[in-house]
């Protein structure tokens, strides 16, 4: 069973609708009515999409044996960018928004984008200052402190 490409996404939606149907059956009739009315046709439509996507993918596989080098490079950049987003998210979880904005921005600019030291530092500082002034000082928002800070409190 393929988990990539259009059929992979269709499969994800199938699991989603199946999960919703199973969970809905546990609610009282009024609460489950509309979710079931939406999820069951959604599931049927998605199964149709999945079958169609599988058929198209098999046809394409017969015609093109392997990914072009350009496509492989794009796929690599795609995964790389997703990884950076996950890293940023994990930094926020553990270090909080202030620290992770500083660290992530600098590391991304200096080591991923290969910008110069002055540019990386000035953009990092400017971005953090802008966030601090706009959100903390003016709006008086409290930004997430991070799990590590909470441990020390």
């Amino acid at each position: 069973m393929r988990f990539k490409g259009p059929s992979g996404l269709a499969l994800f939606f199938i699991f989603f609708f199946v999960l919703i149907i199973i969970l809905s059956l546990g609610y009282n009739p009024q609460a489950r009515l509309i979710p079931l009315v939406i999820a069951i046709p959604g599931l049927l439509l998605t199964i149709g999409q999945w079958v169609g996507a599988l058929y198209k993918e098999r046809k394409v596989e017969r015609e093109e044996k392997s990914l072009a080098a350009e496509d492989r490079e794009e796929l690599s950049r795609e995964k790389n960018t997703m990884a950076w987003i996950i890293i940023f998210f994990l930094m926020i979880v553990f270090l909080g928004l202030h620290a992770s904005i500083l660290l992530f921005t600098f590391i991304y600019l200096k080591f991923k984008s290969k910008e110069s030291w002055p540019l990386s530092l000035s953009i990092t500082g400017g971005l953090w200052l802008g966030i601090y002034l706009a959100f903390v000082q003016i709006v008086k928002a409290s930004l997430y402190p991070g799990l590590l800070w909470k441990l020390f409190e």
């Binding site: 996404l9 939406i38 959604g42 439509l45 960018t81 991923k112 984008s113 959100f135």
Partner: protein
Amino acid sequence: MMWESFINGFFLSISWQSLGYMLLAIPIGLTIGAIPGLGGNLGLALLIPFTFGMEPLAAFALLLGMHSVVHTGSPIPSILFDTPGAGPAAATCLDGYPMAQKGEAGRALGATFASSGVGGVIGALAMAITIPVIRPIVLAFGPPEFFMLAMLGLAFIASVSGESIARGLIAGAVGLIISFVGMDPQTGVVRFGFGQLYLWEGIKLVPVVIGLFALAEVIDLGKKGTKSIAQVQAYEAKGGMWQGVKDTFIHWWLVLRCSIIGDIIGMIPGLGGDAASFIAYGHAQQTSKHPEEFGKGTVEGVLAPESANNSKEGGALIPTLAFGVPGSSGMAILLGAFMILGLAPGPEMLTKHLDLTFSMVWMLVIANVLAALACLATANHLAKITFIRSSILIPFILVFGLVGSYLTTNHMGDLIITLLMGFLGYGMKKYDYPRASLILGLILGEIAENNLHLSLNLFGPAFLLRPMTLIILAIAALPIVFPWFKKAGKKEGKEGVR
């Protein structure tokens, strides 16, 4: 008396005090609109304490001056970074960002500011015209009509689905299911909560749109490895801001229709103004001579949602003033200002305080015009941002997007939702599942379900036979039926040529 009050209202709105507060409030509103995650409601909540002890005229100049221009600022990040400044601005991402990628960011910004200004003015004038007759119109709407209006909005899923209606319906269904997360107000059951308190209140719109659009676009930018958002060189950039302004007047009929759509949706309390931009977008696509261009960077795809977005604020003010029933969440906060100022919304606003009411109409007009002019002065400079290296912009977009998402409820859950929606949104973009359909489902799902249950409890299945309900049902069928007629008409035309 009505005409005298209309003129008096104008002179009140251009008094030094009123103009002064508006000039102070307009930049605040534009900035709040342009920063993802803040939203006009936050601006109102921040400014209301300042209205203690103020004259009503000054207070409303401050509050309305800020609130009415938030949606002029919110499409700026939509166009430049595919990051909506507010939920409704997500509709502008659909064509605004592709225009920026084609080097037409200036044109997109010019179109958005001009159509926002025009939409805001039309919304204000519609408010002035309907004030005398609004009572029977609004009272004619009950749960059955709200349910059918939600169906009308959902019918537009077919319009924004592009080539594959099946994928559009799947995306719409996912959006509807997401809207059901949380406590069901009819039964008190917490649905799909997975034992998490955060999910009891449901999934908020802002984290979803930031994930679906901003994060998805960051992944796309990183994948393509392009040097800048604009995929052309700066000297190839076409049109500029003035072309966008001209487009607003070339497509004046579209702008007028979408402004009226926004005004009507804003006027109906309980429907939710967030859908106005998407419904207007769907309508524009349906009625366009080139519907296949939508989603690829057509200026009509920017004009339609922006004119509706601003005009709905004028519409939302109508039931707020006339009945004390807020036409939107922002108006609910504005009612707080009424209480602080010792005013009672309702018949008094249409009799004893009619001058003040009409001054609010003029404030909306003046604020929208001034905001549009101010933004137009900066449009070409803002457009240059699309030529900055992507490698520098990516951290900006990520930081502003995630901070904006977190500020929705100050809970980590918002960030998790944004992250998950980011990956889903990227997949949807890559494999042609329309994200607009998901957003429509999310916005309208709760409204549709609640009003369906209320209608069945109050009237039984016979609610479908109410005259207003039948009229709206007929209108709701149009987005589905109209494309068929259009295709059939084209086929007949071809046969005629043979």
